[in-house]
């Protein structure tokens, strides 16, 4: 071995190291490392050193060097740290105390309608949203979609960089290209500019649009959203002006829903759920209850609460509403018993009833319903009208057609698409995908690299609602000024900032834009105060739109759709992914749809009879053909669906949205032409002879005579207040072989769930998922029965297969006082505590699953595999630091939000007092729009939950097993019309 090929050997190194002491040690090692050949020496592996085996000296040398290189390989990890200055947390940011969450008010708009929220942030990471308790649209509650918004923020599949034809570019380079294109447009007054947005309700954005259009008078601005047009178009038809209807369910004794899921989705659903529940809930025999009729083209969670529900083919609904209109005007209710009863009830409750039409109903139906409410004297009492929430109410079908026409004629030089996803959602006959590519410069601001982005040149990542400034009205017009809660994770621009580029202020921040706009609206000297107040509260005080009076006219019958033979198809937006915009939200994808219990897929919904006619079963793949287009999907048989009709939900079958949504379900839009956007006739169904597995979370819908959901009618309850509790006997206290009877001297936590109020909306499920770091498992695992939701909503049927009654029952761990799980755990990983909680000790759990087997409620959830995503960085930010993130092989279950209990207990202890009633609200109870869940201390007889439990309708689920559950249920009490004996409709 020559000196050159091996300049360093052990002796040299040792000598070098011996010289070094203390700080110099490091420096000399640095020197050592810097020497030529040293790295080479370190990285040398056996093949080259093998030569050293040949002579004895070399062998020894080799061993020495091996030792040294091992030692040095360790040392080489200790590289010198660069000089960086860290900041000690001596002066903390205002109000930020490490470990304590801060709540900021903002809003999460869906289709432009603000859902007011308080966002919980931990060290400036938004982790969870709660409803804004001060805001009239929320009163503290939030729906499932809003609850899931926080996952959307951290979605790792969001568009993360500015792209030009697939290459990453900077914002300035985008601006220069964009402004150059704008420059060219100046000469032609912007005649080549087209802007496509979703429904714009933001006053600031609208003001910006006006500025843009002033600057470029030739430019055109179009709006397009695929659903929810019936509302505004219906008002236009009835009143001659687009009005926004607000319903007062807390004042309505009789409600008739026309294919309306007003408790489940749409503007105001959160508030409506609360108001409706207030009129509905019965906890003692003296109370009154509203009566609720529903006519539906597909079973919905709202319809399942109805005292009388009528399944109706979509084509029959308009006729039904028309005959209702003439009946309430006094021209006889015809022969239908149902209609007669409805009319009688509605007329008896003049001024105290509501007829409401659904979002997926045609303008004609909406117009008729406005007229009916007017005849019933409801308008102005239970139904209020205000100016529209849309800044520029437009016929969006016309808008999207006009845009397609402009594009196809080649007039469009610059197309700017702000949000939305027209390639996916536009009517198929427009061929939006091809049309957009006719525009010369195509700029897309979007959250995802989706179907529309695919055909655009410039992609600019859009900021999530929680990353931007903005404003939006709630269902009643109350304006929320939205504040950002976190700096944009991926750079990103908001629509406001993009529009600012038109007016040559591309650097204007969203904050300046929104603030400047509102300074022109609120001109008082107290502007700063007003601004701060509005942001702090999450809404502008007293900004609800004033009610206006309007006279509805009876619209002439529209020419009915073609009387083609074949099946009817009704289109509905999915309750959670809506029109497809939240398709990549895994929480929403895995959320069982309230009625079908399906996750991760939509389906071809058929009634049992229609399925029998077609000789298909659930999970059979079929082709649905309509006017030359066809889609393929799996059948799901749904009792209560009208016969000869097919229910299809929009929002699935996305091709490009991310790992959660890609390939989930099938795309229904190809069937939905502009001529028949609500329902269509003449569909053909062809079985394909294949199976496709659908992941439902519940497979048995009959109560099997066990009555987990106890039901009764108001009349029965009045006759015998104990009718519910008579149903079963409960074991006497102390019936256990174990000597220790817990005393619960301090607190005794308990819960009560009012099944009359619960409408199965699933908001609690998502709230729990966000609060408790519950993992998403994916379709395969749901198929395997391994979903992780700590709270599930069971849905049962009663009655005939064709016209069943439906009941919902949220079930989480009921915290038994005699818990079967506790005695069987061999390692004491699930233990009782002195307040009656059944605690799960994750660290101790070895995963025998015995507890789950022995749980009669089957509410325990097991990490069969590593379900928690430990890899994706952005998702880690969402996790609640107060709750352990579980790993593989441990059991978990509802804790009654023990982190919230302990937080309140610590606070109370510091203040030397007991925890007050209402101080602890578990995530499920907090978000429940219909306030169906009460939680508190059972040792305090004045607490809400104690009072609920004294109700005559209170019962223990499986109480006969002597489990003594802490969660009890209040029976589902209904108020059927005695004139309509069940199961017999004309």
């Amino acid at each position: 071995m020559s000196e050159q090929s091996n300049p360093l050997n052990l002796e040299v190194i040792q000598k070098q190291l011996e010289k070094a002491k203390g700080p110099t040690y490091w420096r000399s090692l640095d020197e050592l490392l810097a020497k030529d050949g040293f790295q080479d020496y370190l990285h040398r592996e056996f093949p080259r050193q093998a030569g050293e085996w040949l002579d004895d000296d070399g062998r020894r040398n080799f061993l020495k060097i091996m030792g040294a290189s091992l030692a040095l390989a360790g040392l080489s990890a200790c590289t010198k740290q660069p000089t960086e200055y860290i900041m000690p947390y001596v002066v903390e940011p205002e109000k930020a105390v490490a470990g304590k969450p801060l709540f900021y008010a903002t809003a999460f708009p869906v289709s432009g309608i603000a859902n007011p929220v308080l966002v919980e942030t931990h060290e400036f990471r938004p982790t969870k949203v709660e409803g804004n308790p001060e805001h009239p649209a929320s009163l503290g509650a939030a729906d499932a979609v809003t609850q899931a918004s926080v996952l959307g923020l951290y979605d790792p599949d969001r568009l993360q960089t500015i792209n030009y034809l697939g290459e990453v570019r900077s914002y300035p380079s985008f601006l220069s290209s964009f402004l150059a294109a704008l420059d060219k447009q100046k000469a032609k007054n912007g005649a080549g500019i087209r802007i496509l947005t979703e429904t714009v309700t933001s006053p600031t954005l609208f003001a910006q649009f006006q500025d843009v259009l002033k600057l470029y008078p030739g430019a055109k601005w179009y709006q397009w959203e695929p659903t929810g047009h019936g509302r505004s178009a219906g008002a236009q038809l009835a009143f001659g002006q687009p009005l926004n209807a607000i319903y007062k369910f807390d004042q309505a004794d009789v409600v008739l829903a026309i294919d309306s899921n007003f408790l489940g989705c749409g503007p105001g659903s959160v508030r409506y759920s609360r108001d409706f529940a207030a009129k509905r809930t019965v906890r003692d025999s003296a109370a009154g209850q509203n009566r609720f009729y529903s006519v539906e083209s597909t079973p919905s969670s709202t319809g399942s609460k109805a005292d009388h529900r009528q399944a109706m083919k979509p084509s029959e609904i308009a006729a039904f509403v028309r005959s209702l209109a003439s009946a309430v005007s006094g021209s006889g209710a015809g022969t239908s018993k149902f209609l007669q009863a409805v009319v009688k009830d509605l007329q008896a409750a003049r001024g105290k009833s509501i007829v409401i039409a659904g979002d997926d109903q045609s303008p004609e139906v909406h117009a008729l319903v406005h007229y009916i409410n007017q005849v019933l004297d409801n308008n102005g009492k239970t139904v209020l009208f205000t100016a529209p929430l849309e800044q520029k109410p437009a016929d969006q079908w016309a808008d999207i057609h006009a845009l397609a026409q402009d594009l196809n004629s080649g007039q469009v030089d610059l197309l700017l698409i702000l949000g939305g996803n027209p390639v996916y959602t536009a009517p198929p006959e427009l061929n939006m995908r091809g049309a957009i590519q006719m525009a010369k410069l195509r700029v897309r601001l979007g959250l995802y690299d989706d179907e529309t982005s695919e055909v655009c040149q410039w992609l600019v990542p859009e900021t999530h609602t929680f990353e931007q400034w903005g404003d939006a009205p709630a269902y009643d017009g109350t304006i929320s000024i939205m504040q950002p809660l976190i700096a944009p994770l991926y750079g990103g621009k908001s629509s406001y900032e993009m529009l600012a580029a038109f007016t040559e202020t591309p650097d204007k921040s969203g904050y300046q834009i929104v603030r400047d706009y509102w300074s022109t609206e609120h001109t008082g000297a107290d502007y700063d105060m007003w601004w701060k107040r509005s942001i702090h509260d999450g809404f502008v005080k007293d900004s609800a739109l004033p009610a206006v009076t309007a006279v509805a006219k009876l619209t002439a019958p529209q020419p009915s759709a073609s009387s083609a033979s074949g099946y009817e198809v009704s289109f509905h937006s999915d309750p959670y992914v809506l029109d497809g915009r939240y398709a990549n939200n895994a929480w929403l994808q895995e959320l069982p749809r309230p009625v079908t219990r399906l996750t991760w897929d939509n389906a071809v919904i058929l009634s049992p009879k229609t399925a029998a006619d077609l000789k298909v079963e659930s999970e059979d793949r079929v082709e649905v053909a309509l006017h030359g287009n066809s889609v393929q999907g799996a059948v799901w048989i749904l009792p209560g669906h009208p016969n000869d009709s097919i229910g299809l939900s929009l929002g699935f079958g996305r091709r490009r949205c991310g790992r959660a949504g890609n390939g989930a379900g099938f795309d229904v839009y190809p069937l939905r032409s502009a001529t028949s956007p609500y329902f269509a006739k003449g569909a053909k169904v062809t079985p394909l002879g294949e199976k496709f597995r659908l992941a439902a979370t519940q497979h048995h819908f009959s109560m099997e005579g066990r009555d987990p959901v106890r039901t009764g009618t108001l009349d029965e309850l009045k006759k015998d207040p104990f009718v519910i509790q008579k149903e079963s006997e409960t074991a006497p206290k102390g019936l256990t072989i174990y000597p220790q009877e817990w005393q619960y001297k301090g607190y005794a936590w308990g819960m009560a769930v009012d099944l009359t109020s619960c409408n199965g909306c699933n908001a609690c499920v998502v709230a729990c998922q966000a609060e408790n770091n519950i993992a998403v498992v994916g379709k395969e695992q749901v198929l395997n029965g391994r979903e992780m939701h700590w709270i599930r909503i069971d849905r049962y049927y009663k009655g005939s297969e064709h016209d069943p009654e439906m009941f919902f029952q949220p079930v989480a761990c009921v915290h038994c006082e005699n818990a079967p799980c506790e005695v069987v755990c061999p390692v004491a990983a699930t233990e009782h505590d002195q307040e009656g909680l059944n605690n799960m000790v994750y660290n101790r759990c070895v995963g025998t699953r015995y507890c789950s087997n022995n749980c009669p409620y089957k509410v325990r959830r097991f990490n069969f595999l590593l379900f928690t995503d430990w890899e994706t960085e952005s998702l880690k930010l969402q996790r609640n630091p107060d709750v352990t993130v579980r790993s593989r092989g441990v059991m978990e279950k509802c804790t009654y939000c023990i982190q919230r209990i302990n937080y309140a207990k610590i606070t109370a202890e510091k203040e030397d007092r007991r925890v007050k009633d209402g101080e602890i609200v578990p995530a499920c109870a907090a978000t429940c729009p219909s306030q169906a869940i009460a939680f508190g201390d059972l040792n305090d007889p004045t607490s809400t939950v104690s009072k609920w439990k004294t109700a005559k309708t209170n019962y223990s689920l499986l109480g006969e097993l002597n489990t003594r559950p802490r969660t009890t249920y209040l029976a589902d009490i209904r108020n059927p019309n005695p004139e309509l004996s069940t199961g017999e409709e004309s």
Binding site: G785, P826, V827, K858
Partner: protein, 460 residues
């Protein structure tokens, strides 16, 4: 001990055929280990078993890498193949203990020809069984938390849990079985040591024989130790499977929560154990030409025990069904109805066919003494007993109290891998056992021979 030659007519032939002498018995049994050439059949059998054992390697490795989710278990069916197989293997083990302990105490000398083999089977079956409770936990590396060991957290296991009782029952069982088996082997190991031709073998067997010199004192102590161990093992025959049945009986799940389980499980265990002894003995007897030592009398007796336990098991099934109905409890009634007519009904009826109908053939003496038919029946009983555990574990869990949480369980390829892997392990061990250790207790056989009775003139 008197040679057993009961003159009655109920017995078929002698326990050992005519023409055997003390030397011929030793030669014959020891010869299988020492003299017999390694046959192609044995090599093939061992390799096949060893190949199947690799399923366990693969299955367990993948299981530990990915988690128990590679199996088909879910909520509500939290236990699947692992517990089914555990109970099945433990049950199989019971025959060995019964033969070696209870029959010893009852002085049933026909046991002498089969007890060694049956004990080995017990040991191997318990080894197979013992793996499942560890593998089936979500975090198998922490399964030792089930042991009551002193630790800095001052944490004990939870003594109310039947799973913990299981730990004690099974570890005790394994220990006693191993000790009993080994103690019984010592005199024969000495015989092998003395017969072996090569120094290596002599040394190996010499070490294993622990200095056995056939002295009267040794024999005296041996007999005492045997009796004591038999006394210790006897309650285990009843207690182990009783405790295993507590896993189910102590729970509140309909179909599990029943007081008939302990006796019914014990009978079932002995039933499946005898069936497994028959399954193994019949081919071994044939391949190693042991018809004269394991005679038709043995087969006949074992078949009788099988039939008797089958009847007890049948009584158990009947009572289970009857009380399901008679309890008037919604859940119990539904459970039994669901077993008979639900999605797993075919398993239930197969179980009835295998476990109740098939053994009725054993009423016939002709069948009891036809090794071929007996062998087929014994395999059917083994399958039946496996199905019984499947029916108990799965059909009870899959539809319990709340219809909303009902589900289904189907095993995955990894369930099968681990199960077949333990079969491979069991067979591998059996193949090795018959080659390296005397599969029949030589000295006990010798005692059955007329020569064993020394007729000394009365010293006067």
């Amino acid at each position: 001990m008197q040679p057993v030659e009961l003159p009655d007519k109920i017995h078929v032939g002698p326990v050992i055929d005519q023409g055997h002498s003390l030397a011929s018995v030793s030669d014959k049994v020891a010869g299988i280990v020492l003299k017999r050439k390694v046959t192609l059949g044995w090599v093939f059998g061992l390799l096949l078993s060893f190949a199947i054992l690799q399923n366990l390697m693969a299955g367990a490795t993948w299981l530990i890498i990915k988690g128990v989710g590679v199996w088909g278990i879910n909520i509500p069916v939290g236990w699947g193949f692992a517990i089914i197989n555990f109970v099945w293997w433990i049950g199989i083990g019971h025959a060995g203990t019964l033969i070696s302990a209870i029959l010893l105490l009852l002085n049933q000398s026909w046991r002498n020809a089969i007890n060694r083999f049956a004990e080995a089977m017990t040991l191997f079956a318990v080894m197979c069984a013992g793996m499942f409770p560890v593998l089936h936990t979500g975090r198998p590396w922490l399964a030792y938390w089930l042991l009551p060991y002193p630790n800095t957290m001052a944490l004990w296991p939870q003594f109310r849990s039947p799973l913990l009782w299981d730990v004690f029952a099974v570890t005790t069982y394994l220990t006693i079985s191993a000790v009993f088996w080994y103690v019984g082997l010592i005199p024969d190991l000495a015989t092998l040591r003395d017969t072996a031709k090569t120094p290596g073998l002599r040394r190996t067997y010499g070490l294993l024989a622990m200095g056995w010199r056939n002295s009267a004192r040794h024999w005296q102590r041996y007999e005492k130790a045997s009796l004591l161990l038999a006394g210790l093992a006897t309650p285990l025959v009843v207690s182990v499977h009783t405790v295993v049945s507590f896993d189910f009986a102590v729970s509140i799940i309909p179909g599990w929560h029943t007081t008939i389980f302990p006796p019914y499980f014990v009978a079932g265990a002995i039933y499946s154990g005898f069936a497994m002894v028959l399954t193994l003995m019949i081919p071994v007897r044939r391949f190693y030409g042991l018809d004269d030592i394991i005679t038709l009398r043995h087969l006949n007796n074992m078949a009788k025990v099988t039939l008797a336990t089958a009847l007890i098991v049948a009584y158990g099934y009947t009572m289970e069904a009857f009380f399901g109905y008679f309890s008037a409890d919604t859940y119990e009634k539904f459970m039994i109805w669901n077993r008979m007519t639900g999605p797993y009904a075919v398993f239930y009826w197969c179980l009835i066919l295998c476990n109740i109908i098939t053994p009725q053939f054993l009423w016939s003496k002709k069948i009891r003494t036809s090794p071929g038919i007996l062998w087929i029946i014994s395999i059917i009983v083994n399958i039946g007993m496996w199905l019984e555990r499947f029916v108990i574990v799965v059909t009870s869990l899959h539809r319990d109290f709340l219809p909303s949480s009902w589900g289904m369980y189907w095993p995955t390829v990894w369930d099968w891998a681990v199960y077949t892997g333990t079969l491979g392990m069991f067979m591998t061990l059996i193949f090795l056992f018959v080659r390296v250790l005397p599969m029949i207790t030589i000295f006990e056989l010798r005692m059955l021979l007329p020569d064993a009775t020394v007729k000394e003139p009365v010293a006067q």
